[in-house]
């Protein structure tokens, strides 16, 4: 049991580090595209680690499935939201004729 506990704590801490990295990126990166990149990449990885850490502590199979489902749905949601936001910004920049904000 204690090994599982230690593993769980380690994984959750690792997830926390990735969340911290993503937040730093959100605050410090210069443009929306890189900020989106920091948010989606780092946070999804962080959430994955936290979910893995919590999976080590589950008591039955249904809790396990719910945790995996949460991670999966968050992945689908954040990756498509990221694309939609980036696409919207790109379309607006194209519409205005600003080539420097295209991220090209």
């Amino acid at each position: 049991m204690s090994i599982l506990h230690a593993l769980s704590i380690l994984l959750c801490l690792a997830g926390g580090v990735f969340f911290l990295g993503g937040t730093l990126g959100l605050l410090r990166f210069p443009d929306t595209y890189s900020r989106l990149h920091a948010l989606t990449k780092a946070d999804n990885l962080g959430l994955g680690f936290v979910v893995l850490g919590l999976m080590a502590r589950t008591e039955n199979i249904s809790e396990l499935i719910i945790l995996v489902l949460i991670w999966f749905l968050a992945l689908v949601g954040s990756s498509s939201a990221c694309y939609l936001i980036a696409n919207h910004i790109r379309n607006e920049a194209l519409h205005k004729g600003e080539t420097d904000d295209l991220g090209l």
């Binding site: 749905l73 689908v76 498509s80 694309y83 939609l84 696409n87």
Partner: protein, 299 residues
Amino acid sequence: MIWAFDVLLVLALIGVAAHIIWAREHFQAVVLFITFGLLLSMAWSRLNAPDIAITEAGIGAGLSGVLLMNALKSGSASRPGLSNKVLACLILPWACLMSLLLAWAWDAALIGSGLGVEVLAALPHAAFEYPVTAVLLDFRTFDTWLELGVLLAAVFGILGTGFRSGPQGRPDLKPPEPVGTWALNILFPFMILIGGYLLWLGAFAPGGAFQSGVILAAAGVMLWQSGRPCLAGVPFFWVRVCVVSGFSAFLLLAVSSLVRSQELLTHPDSKIWILGVEYAATLSIAACLVILAENCITK
């Protein structure tokens, strides 16, 4: 001495209300409306209701005032922005009153425990095991009925003015978006499932008609955003039936309780009655919110 203040307050309320109705300019009316909200919140605090006073000051005077000001600015482009002097005259008393009320409510919250004890004592007679749902649908049915009425009135307003609608009186469809469609295909079944689950859960755990309705509405808005007919795919007759179903279910319950010569909005002991009302309310909330979103989201 305090009764003189009360009389003054009442006179001021009536006077300001009359001024709002007779105000020539919209701007003047909005400023008076905010003043009216502040006076009204003082009246509520004189009636020993700190929670309503705070709500009135925050939403009635503050938020509605800002919204009205904003609407005024976008309505007439020539009007210059609010001068700093007028703004200070409005914000300063508002902030003072708000902080006083908050301090008082903090005190009151420490002393009284509200109606929690009474609710828990009456819970065995309710149709629901979960206290929040029991309060919303069983003990304070009238409030919930009126809330659905407010939602209905908003939808009537939007449908009546044809705000940003397409050629057939419906909002235009968005062009389909590949990634949005992909996400929708995965998320939509889950949203319907979770909406239904929350509705079922409301009887004995956090959940219920409002939460479920919001999730179903979000599913509907996603459907519409990804370029598919959401409510447009349903005959308009049935959309209207969905929109009024919640309000009418409460109305039917009220009428039936009168026919059975009981108190208004009471129901027989079986759960079917109140569950029917809750399900109708969910449908209604979802349909109303989708209509509001379809008509208010800018392209």
